[in-house]
């Protein structure tokens, strides 16, 4: 149905069809009106026709009457006719007349005298002669006057035609004319039957006399049942419709006055109204068809439309339910297909937007729920919650459901004390349509009071508050903090005023006094207002270094360092001076840099300190002069005090001993097990922990000391140290114990001791010798080195000026001179090195790196094969300068030993290594080596096998190594070489 593929076309068609129905209906109405008008016209015309026919019939009858009157007059004149020719006359009249069938002249006896008939009836003429008409119906109506009389109509036996008899009285008889009404019928025949018109003439008895339809004229139809005919007979002309059998007439009837006949005109309505009826029927038909077609198309459209519309509806429902993935089949309507496509597009768009909305909503929800506060929406004025964020459950502990379900939830959960006020405030502000925030307490599910800050936005519609939006923030912590702060502010003020120190608060930049406490007012005898307007000078003594400028510098200093403490000569408002101790501290108070000055009156303390100093002086005099060693130990067993008597006993000065432990200084290792338990007893407060034990002096002497120890406690009774009185009882004790212990082997002991003493004495002698040598060397070196320098300079100048071939023979002597200057200098150096106890200045360094650098500086003869293995990776604590001296001496000796051994494999092997807690340096040569005799004397000063040198090289090596707490070992075989092993003790933290 291509016409209906467009909904527009289908609906237009439907509309046109429906619209045609009223048009048709009005047409029908019009036709109905038209037919009525036409009917009226037809009625009038019908009546007119009846009247016209009536006039014609009347004139016809008058013509007949006039003919008959003429006959009468002719007969009556006598002059014209002879009596025997009357018959012929009559016959002639009948023959020439159109209407007469016959004319009879009756005598007074109503018998025929004369007659004239139609020629065809001449033969039967005699039948009528003497025929008595006295009983004729006509005579019943004869009047005495001479007015013609019409008989009833009848069917002539002669002609078989309707006829009527007209009688005209005469003086001697009566003239009767039988009139053939066929001519009347011929008259009526002028009114065509076309158009269904029937014209009839009915006699006074209602019987049909003439009819325009010939066949009907012959039938003696009675019209007595036609109401118009009946009315006409009574003298009333009418027109009306009349049903006769199947036929439907519009009939009119009118009366003909003489002889009271009725003209009837009938119109066949069916025929007359047929076009109108046709038209009407056609219109009705069209209407019906249009209605049916419109209904059909409408139904069809409805059916065809409903399917896609339902589908669209379903689709819309699915979209509403969130199902966006559907395809619609083609509906048959392009517009709906377009609509469906657009809905599909729309659903995609909705889907995208919904996804976006869902994600936005989720984001919004997450956001709202992530806010550390309750976001809510409330209906106003019912105060029923519309939305509450999840945080509500976290903050107050009630299930979210409760918030929604209980319309009075909010009011119920406000702390009873805050409830009235909060509710009233909310109502007031909401009615004023003002956004507001306020604070109140809510009671959480666990009964705790939560301080809530509620920020509310009022939503207004139609100038009325309808909803409230808000956020509740838990600020219990802040509230508590504020309370605590105000509490602490009060505390601070109390402390500030209750302290006994005077406190100033200064502005850090200007030094101005911002605030002071009560103690300050008391201490400086000043009132508060004056204190705040006074400058720093007002509170200072006023002379340098206690002037206002000094005070400012102190403030600046405190600002830079953070704090400082010093003594200050202060002045009261009364002018009285006093000593104070001032503690300055920079602080930030209320975002401003301030200096807090705490001033303490120390006048009393100063006096006390002075007194204490005097006591101390007396005491120290006592301690310093007492003959007993007096030592004060701290709890960690280090020296806190060491009097001159102790120094005299042990040889260590106070400075050497302060902070040192007795172990390693005055208590030898072997005595440690005796001393340690004693120390523990002393620390525990044992006042009887005295002892008699061996000690060692600074110069290594073992002495016997008697110790009297007293623990010292502070005011609280806690031990804070131990005071020891010590006396050197070596002489007495040694003698006693030696006597006691070694009496049995006295001889042996004496011998041994003697040997020891001798050795010691030898060493002492040597040391003494060396000391003298040292002194001598130091003095002499000055004196010798100048001449040496002069000689060296002279040699240099000589050498410089004696260049050239002619002086070549002088080169050797000059070299020798130079070398010997150097030798002299070396001898002096060696002597100085050996004889003077140089202080060893130790520092940490990596021995391998150091040694490598040293070896780089030295030069080695080409014939010597050198091999270094410096892989100890040790860090040693040593005096690198002294160690350098050692190494140079050792290597020089090795190279000399190698030089003394001609034509041999000359190898110099140097190695560093770590063995246990020692770092060892090995120098091995394959030189000449040393005999046992030589080996025994190498450490002896001034022993030398060389032509050069004073024999101090090896003793210097030994001195320096031992001075480091290390040592040196020589291993040698004549002809094989010498190995020198030098070692240093590794400090604990120097390994690796």
């Amino acid at each position: 149905m291509p016409l209906l593929t467009s909904l527009k076309r289908a609906l237009t068609l439907n509309f046109l069809l429906v619209a045609s129905i009223p048009v048709l209906f009005f047409g029908l109405l019009n036709i109905q009106l038209l037919s009525k008008q036409q009917l009226d016209g037809v009625r009038a015309r019908n009546m007119m026709q009846a009247r016209s026919v009536s006039e014609e019939v009347e004139s016809f009858l008058l013509e007949v009457l006039s003919d008959l009157r003429h006959v009468q007059q002719t007969i009556a004149s006598d002059t014209i006719l002879r009596p025997d020719s009357v018959d012929d006359f009559l016959a002639g009249v009948v023959r020439n007349s159109q209407f007469f069938e016959s004319i009879y002249l009756l005598d007074n006896n109503r018998q025929i005298l004369h007659l004239g008939v139609l020629p065809k009836l001449q033969s039967r003429r005699d039948d009528y002669v003497k025929l008595d008409f006295s009983g004729h119906q006509i005579f019943q109506n004869i009047n005495v006057d001479e007015r013609p009389v019409w008989s009833n109509t009848f069917v002539s036996l002669v002609t078989g035609e309707p006829s009527v008899t007209l009688g005209v009285p005469m003086q001697q008889g009566f003239l009767l004319g039988n009139i053939r009404l066929r001519s009347l019928g011929k008259l009526l025949q002028r009114y065509s039957t076309h158009g269904g018109v029937e014209v009839s003439i009915v006699d006074d008895s209602g019987t049909l006399v003439a009819h325009n339809i010939a066949e009907k004229a012959m039938q003696r139809i009675n019209f007595g049942d036609h109401p118009t005919v009946v009315a006409a007979m009574k003298g009333t002309e009418t027109t009306q419709e009349f049903e006769q059998g199947t036929r439907h007439y519009l009939e009119s009837a009118t009366l003909i006055t003489t002889p009271e006949w009725v003209v009837w005109v009938g119109l066949d309505m069916d025929k007359v109204m047929a076009p109108i009826f046709h038209m009407r029927n056609l219109l009705i038909g069209f209407m019906a068809v249009a209605a049916i077609l419109a209904s059909f198309i409408a139904l069809l459209n409805v059916r065809r439309l409903m399917q896609p519309l339902n589908a669209l509806g379903e689709r819309a429902g699915q979209i509403a339910n969130g199902d966006y993935e559907l395809n619609l089949p083609p509906s048959g309507y392009s517009e709906i297909d377009v609509l469906a496509d657009q809905i599909t597009n729309m659903s995609h768009a909705i889907k995208i937007r919904e996804e976006s909305i869902v994600s936005n909503e989720q984001r919004f929800r997450d956001l709202v729920n992530s806010i550390d506060g309750i976001v809510w929406e409330m209906e106003y004025p019912s105060c029923r919650f519309l939305f509450v964020s999840r945080q509500a459950e976290v903050m107050l502990g009630y299930p979210i459901q409760d918030w929604y379900e209980d319309p009075c939830f909010w009011e119920k959960k406000i702390h009873p004390e805050d409830m009235e006020q909060s509710r009233a405030y909310r109502q007031l502000m909401s009615e004023k349509q003002d956004d507001h925030d306020f604070e109140y307490r809510m009671v959480a599910a666990d009964g705790k009071n939560i301080w809530v800050r509620d920020l509310v936005t009022v939503v207004v519609e139609d100038n009325r508050p309808v909803r409230l939006l808000g956020g509740m923030i838990d600020f219990t912590a802040q509230k508590e903090l504020i309370n605590a702060l105000s509490h602490s502010e009060r505390n601070y003020r109390e402390i500030f005023n209750s302290t006994s120190d005077a406190i100033f608060i200064h502005d850090a930049e200007t030094g101005r006094v911002i605030d002071v406490n009560q103690a300050m007012l008391n201490m400086f005898e000043c009132d508060y207002e004056k204190a705040l307007v006074s400058d720093l000078g007002a509170f200072s003594q006023g002379e340098s270094p206690y002037e206002i400028e000094d005070a400012r510098l102190k403030l600046q200093d405190a600002q830079e360092k953070g704090s400082s403490t010093f003594e200050w000569h202060s002045r009261k408002a009364t002018g009285e001076l006093f000593w104070s101790e001032v503690n300055l501290r920079s602080a930030v108070i209320g975002n401003r840099n301030r200096i807090l000055a705490a001033v303490r009156d120390i006048s009393e303390r100063k006096k006390a300190v002075e007194k204490l100093r005097e006591v101390n002086e007396r005491l120290s005099l006592l301690i310093n002069r007492m003959p007993l060693g007096c030592i004060l130990w701290t709890l960690d067993f280090t020296v806190n005090m060491w009097n001159p008597a102790a120094e005299a006993i042990f040889g260590f000065s106070e400075n050497e001993m302060l902070g040192n432990s007795p172990f390693g200084t005055i208590v030898p290792e072997e005595v440690r097990p005796v001393v340690e338990p004693l120390w523990d007893r002393m620390k525990a407060g044992d006042t009887a922990a005295h002892s008699l034990n061996d000690n060692v002096t600074k110069d290594g002497r073992i002495i016997t000391c008697e110790w009297s120890n007293t623990p010292m406690s502070d005011i609280s009774g806690e031990i804070i140290g131990v005071l020891s009185m010590v006396q050197d009882v070596s002489d007495r004790k040694a003698a006693e114990s030696e006597l006691e212990k070694y009496r049995a082997r006295l001889e042996e002991l004496v011998t041994e001791r003697t040997a020891q003493l001798q050795a010691a004495q030898e060493e002492l002698v040597q040391k003494g010798r060396l000391a003298v040598l040292g002194q001598l060397t130091a003095t002499v070196s000055h004196e010798i080195r100048n001449p040496l320098g002069t000689v060296a300079n002279a040699l240099y100048l000589l050498k410089d000026s004696l260049r050239g071939e002619e002086h070549a023979h002088l080169a050797r002597p000059l070299l020798l001179a130079e070398r010997n200057v150097e030798r002299c200098d070396n001898i002096i150096s060696d002597l100085l090195d050996f004889s003077r106890q140089r202080k060893i200045e130790k520092e940490f360094f990596e021995i391998d790196t150091w040694f490598a650098e040293l070896l780089d500086e030295l030069s080695f003869p080409d014939e010597v094969h050198c091999h270094w293995d410096l892989s100890s990776q040790a860090t040693v604590l040593a005096d690198s300068e002294r160690l350098r001296r050692v190494m140079v001496n050792v290597i020089t000796n090795a190279l000399q030993a190698l030089a003394e051994k001609p034509n041999a494999n000359k190898l110099l092997d140097i190695q560093t290594r770590v063995i246990d807690d020692r770092c060892e340096i090995l120098v091995r040569d394959t030189g000449s080596g040393m005999s046992e005799e030589v080996m025994a004397r190498i450490f002896e000063p001034m022993f030398s096998t060389k032509n050069f040198g004073v024999g101090l090289g090896v003793p210097i090596i030994k001195n320096i190594m031992e001075g480091h707490g290390g040592g040196v070992d020589y291993h040698s075989e004549p002809g094989m070489g010498t190995t020198v092993v030098m070692w240093l003790l590794l400090e604990n933290d120097s390994l690796g």
């Binding site: 010798i784 080195r785 100048n786 320098g789 002069t790 300079n793 240099y796 410089d800 200098d825 140089r838």
Partner: protein
């Protein structure tokens, strides 16, 4: 190096040694003055601005280090090299702290002395004006 005459002060009480230095420096195109005591050295420094001085530590009267301190006091840029036959380490440390450029240990090689003079010309900024 020979273009410019270097003004050198020798402070030495040993006349032979002093003379040997003067001879050597004279050869090097230097103007050499001699002071035999610390006081004399100070006086000479007051009257003339020496490019460099070589001063013995051990001197009669004010010793070398004291003189050094005094000279450096009024002439902080004075370029003074100390000489010594033998001195305690403490004395040497004091000399270094007082601003001694170097310490030559007698008997030193003249090359060392010349080295200091050569260095003056290589770094002329330090002593010329004060």
């Amino acid at each position: 190096m020979g273009q410019e005459i270097t003004k050198v002060l020798i402070v030495e009480d040993d006349p032979d040694f002093a003379e040997s230095l003067m001879i050597a420096l004279g050869v090097r195109n230097c103007h050499v003055d001699l002071a035999r005591t610390g006081e004399e050295a100070i006086r000479k420094f007051h009257s003339l601005c020496y490019d460099i001085a070589f001063m013995d530590i051990k001197l009669p009267g004010k010793d070398g280090v004291e003189s050094l301190v005094e000279i450096r006091d009024f002439c902080p840029t004075a370029h003074i090299v100390m000489m010594t036959g033998f001195s305690e380490a403490a004395v040497l440390d004091k000399a270094r702290q007082a601003g001694a450029v170097d310490i030559l240990r007698k008997p030193f090689r003249l090359k060392e002395m010349f080295g200091h003079i050569d260095k003056l010309h290589n770094e002329p900024s330090s002593t010329s004006n004060h």
